[in-house]
């Protein structure tokens, strides 16, 4: 099974952290995006198996990017990964097609578990 992941987060720190976790757990990094706009573009270009999507980002937020990607690729597997774990936000993301929601700060195990689960469906 292919495990190519697109990491979307405006923070270098989080992208490095996620990359580290993913590589240690036999995932492949398809690419990295630093805002919602880049996420939408790179999704079309790279067709990753899964996306980890931050919410608070410049240019375009992760929620907007999620909606745009789902509109053109309804089967996209997107996991939100944000400190904005408000119930209303989580609900909006899930309703808009996100497969899971990881609240920062995250534990590596929680990330790996969520990705494995979504990829296996």
């Amino acid at each position: 099974m292919s495990r190519r992941i697109l990491i979307v987060d405006d923070a270098t720190f989080i992208r490095s952290l996620l990359k580290d976790i993913l590589l240690k757990n036999n995932f492949e990094i398809a690419g990295e995006a630093v805002n919602g706009q880049e996420a939408v573009t790179l999704y079309q270009q790279l067709q990753p198996d899964l996306v980890t999507m931050d919410i608070t980002m410049p240019e375009k937020s992760g929620l907007e990017a999620l909606k745009e990607i789902i509109q053109t690729s309804p089967n996209a597997k997107i996991i939100m990964c944000s400190a904005m774990g408000q119930q209303a936000m989580v609900l909006e993301a899930i309703k808009s097609g996100a497969k899971d929601f990881i609240v920062k700060p995250f534990q590596p195990d929680r990330v790996v578990e969520a990705l494995e689960k979504v990829l296996s469906h």
Binding site: D10, A11, T12, F13, I14, S16, L17, D20, T56, M57, P58, S61, S82, A83, M84, G85, Q86, Q87, A88, M89, V103, K104, P105, Q107
Partner: protein
């Protein structure tokens, strides 16, 4: 406008719950104890607020504006000489610039602070991306933009692992927002 004890207590509770959750998130990031001092509440003009933050305002600050059910500013400030220590504790051997780490730390602290408020009061708030700026001058431009007599300034100090390293997390709410919060808490007169 004057506020009674009940209302001031309600404001304090916002600070307590928000900062409590923020402190927990910082503790998770650092894998160490984070202590929280009691919440300071001030209903002041932005000018007075500026003079209140001056000491720490000269430190390193990261600012997020918030919009939605509540409008205002969330910011993090710490002494210049401590910032590298904190960033290294969090980023470990990932080689990332101190400022970039602290931007995300503030995002996480702010996100968790607001999550607590939102879940308690059934609100939805968006956080803008971080801005690296000195807080007093930022407040100057903010004052011109919002043009309000008074704001609610909530301040909390977090001390890391009983050491001399600390940071302050601060929330400013605009008048409509703190009135709305009182309503939601059921204590508005």
């Amino acid at each position: 406008m004057n506020y009674n004890t009940l209302e001031i207590d309600a404001f304090k509770e916002i600070g307590n719950i928000g900062s409590g959750n923020a402190a927990t998130s910082l503790s998770t990031l650092l894998d160490t104890m984070v202590d929280l001092e009691i919440t300071e509440i001030n209903v002041v003009s932005i000018q007075d607020c500026q003079s209140m933050v001056t000491t720490e305002g000269q430190g390193f600050s990261v600012i997020h504006e918030l919009h939605g059910d509540l409008n205002g500013i969330f910011w993090f400030v710490m002494r210049e000489e401590d910032k590298q220590f904190l960033a290294e504790c969090i980023a470990g051997d990932l080689n990332i610039a101190t400022e970039l780490v602290l931007e995300e730390v503030t995002n996480i602290l702010g996100g968790n602070y607001l999550k607590a408020l939102c879940d308690m009061l059934s609100l939805k708030i968006d956080l803008n991306p971080p801005i690296l700026s000195e807080i007093t001058s930022y407040l100057g431009s903010y004052e011109n933009r919002i043009n309000q007599e008074q704001i609610l300034y909530i301040k909390n100090k977090l001390t890391i692992n009983q050491q001399s390293v600390y940071c302050c997390i601060n929330l400013i709410l605009e008048p409509d927002s703190f009135q709305f919060t009182l309503q939601k808490l059921g204590v508005s007169h």
